[in-house]
Every structure is written in structure tokens, then in C-alpha cells.
């Protein structure tokens, strides 16, 4: 390899770019197996007229626009409106629809943390998640490690998230393995008397609604 080929000076020759050019970042990384598969599937669906490229784009745009702040508003309302909370626990799908959230093809089940029960959510088969109200799931939620260990040793996983659940409390794991999606309704922390729904929503985090932590009055 000559000095020029090591990228020491600009060069205009054709070659197959098996080396990096200093100071530049390659535009694309190597495409993985699943990316290629997804791309091929998307192109076929478009070619067959099942979906359009704009449908795909619009859906991605919608998913990216979802945010855990929406779930936090739902929780804060349940903490401040007993009737809404009752409806939310009875029929989550209908209750969040009142607030303008459409769960799509899935149904929403809301599980309530109490003095006796701590709930946590996992999807062992894939990564089902209440996207319309929480947005995209975090990477750890999709990891094989979380998906397998959350059902086998939930208390150890909770400890790793900094959450110690005493043995006097039941840990209830929910495997989101079919048509339901889950939202944990955390317990309203002490020291929040008189707070507005907006103030309360600000302390409800994504992880608290998946059940790997609990909110605290900051």
C-alpha cells in the first residue's frame, strides 16, 4: 500500500474502498441480515400494493411522535380522579380513548401497584409494548437478557434497576405475549399532597410505567 492509498492525500482512483479515509465517517454501515429481510419485505409489500411507501413513512412518523409523557398524563389523571382510575382499571382501552389515545388493534390492561403488589411488564416472545401511550420501547426492554430474566428472576432484575421489593410484597410479572398491552399504574408517592396533575405527571417516568422502578416525589 502506498502513502497515497493510506489516505495521506486526496486521490481520484477507482477502488473498492476496503480502507477508511481519515476524517470521514462512512455513510452506511454494513446491512445486517434482519435489516435486509425487513427491507425486502417492505419492498415486496409496496410492489404488491398492500401498503404504500407513504403508509410506512406515516406510521414511523406516528410512532416517533409518541412519548412516555402521554402515559404519565394518564397516570397523573388516575391519581387525581378516582372515577377515571376506576374506569382505567376496568377497561384501559376505553379509558385512554377518552383522553384521545387509540390503542389500535391491541387492548390496554392497566395493572395497579398497591401496598401488597408490585407489577412489572415483559414480552418474552418479542417486544410488545404500549407504543401509542409510551412511544418506542427502550433497548433493554427488547434485549434477550431482560426478556428471559424478567420471568425467571424478576426480583434480581428489579434490584439491578435499583428497586428493592420486600418479600412481604407480591411481585407480579405480566408477560405481554399476545393481544394485550400493559401499563403499570404506580402508587402515588408520599409527599405529593396538593400537587397538580401536571406536577404529578412530571415525576412519572417511563420505567415506572413498565414497573422496573417506582416514582418518588423529587
Amino acid at each position: 500500500m502506498t502513502t497515497e492509498e493510506r489516505g495521506g492525500a486526496p486521490h481520484g482512483h477507482d477502488h473498492d474502498h476496503d480502507h477508511d479515509h481519515p476524517g470521514t465517517t462512512p455513510d452506511t454501515n454494513e446491512t445486517g441480515y434482519y435489516e435486509l429481510m425487513a427491507q425486502a419485505m417492505k419492498e415486496l409489500l409496496i410492489e404488491k400494493g398492500v401498503v404504500t411507501a407513504d403508509d410506512v413513512r406515516r406510521n414511523l412518523e406516528f410512532l416517533d411522535s409518541r412519548d412516555p409523557a402521554d402515559g404519565a398524563r394518564i397516570v397523573a389523571r388516575a391519581w387525581t380522579d378516582a372515577d377515571f382510575k376506576a374506569r382505567l382499571l376496568e377497561d384501559g382501552t376505553a379509558a385512554v380513548e377518552e383522553m384521545g389515545f387509540d390503542m389500535g388493534d391491541a387492548e390496554l390492561v392497566v395493572v395497579e401497584n398497591t401496598d401488597d403488589v408490585h407489577n412489572m411488564i415483559v414480552c418474552t416472545l418479542c417486544s410488545c409494548y404500549p407504543r401509542p401511550i409510551l412511544g418506542l420501547p427502550p433497548d433493554w426492554y427488547k434485549s434477550k437478557s431482560y426478556r428471559s430474566r424478567a420471568v425467571v428472576e424478576p426480583r434480581a432484575v428489579l434490584e439491578e434497576f435499583g428497586t428493592n421489593v420486600p418479600d412481604s410484597k407480591t411481585v407480579r410479572v405480566h408477560d405481554s405475549n399476545a393481544d394485550m398491552r400493559y401499563l403499570v399504574l404506580p402508587q402515588r408517592p408520599e409527599g405529593t399532597d396538593g400537587w397538580s396533575a401536571e406536577q404529578l405527571a412530571a415525576i412519572v417516568t417511563r420505567d415506572a410505567m413498565v414497573g422496573v422502578t417506582v416514582p418518588a416525589a423529587a
Binding site: E153, R155, T170, R172, D175, N177, D179, M180
Partner: protein
């Protein structure tokens, strides 16, 4: 009228058909209690292969004691796992 009632003890089939199934391996052959009826849904095991998913299947949430799933479960005996099981994977327990 649903096929199973809330509170009824059921066994999840210990069956291993090929294909994309929605019953996790860890739950097959385990016994639990119907926690709720979720409604009727098109069968995802058919939808996965391009069929229309009919007839619809009744979906239930089954609550199982963790110690019944994992013999060496580390945690109090009251800990539970709830998951969703379609009717064709459930068996009534006689007696």
C-alpha cells in the same frame, strides 16, 4: 358464555407443534387460574401464515405461581406470573 370462568383452574397444554406459537415454552404443561377473559381475537398462529385467523379464539389471562413454573424460584411463594393463553391451549382440570 365463555369456555372458561374467572377463578377456574386450568392446565396449559404440554404440546410442541411446529411453527410460530404464542404459548411460551416455559408455561407449557403448567397449571394456573383464569385471571380474566380478554375477548375473542383472530388466531395469530394462523395469521402468521397468511390465513384469515378464523375462527376467532377466546383469549384468557392465566395466573401461575412462580414456584410452579420454576422449581428453584428465588422469591416468596406468593409471587406470580400472568400471561395470555388462547382457548385451544387450555385444558380443564377434572375434579
Amino acid at each position: 358464555m365463555t369456555m372458561f370462568n374467572v377463578g377456574e383452574r386450568v392446565r396449559i397444554r404440554d404440546s410442541h407443534p411446529p411453527g410460530h406459537r404464542r404459548t411460551p415454552f416455559y408455561a407449557r404443561g403448567k397449571t394456573g387460574v383464569i385471571e380474566r377473559f380478554c375477548g375473542a381475537f383472530r388466531n395469530p398462529e394462523e395469521l402468521a401464515y397468511g390465513f384469515d385467523g378464523t375462527p376467532q379464539r377466546e383469549l384468557y389471562r392465566v395466573r401461575i405461581a412462580q414456584t410452579d413454573i420454576w422449581p428453584d424460584y428465588k422469591g416468596p411463594p406468593g409471587d406470580t406470573l400472568d400471561l395470555e393463553i388462547y382457548d385451544h391451549w387450555l385444558e380443564k382440570i377434572e375434579g
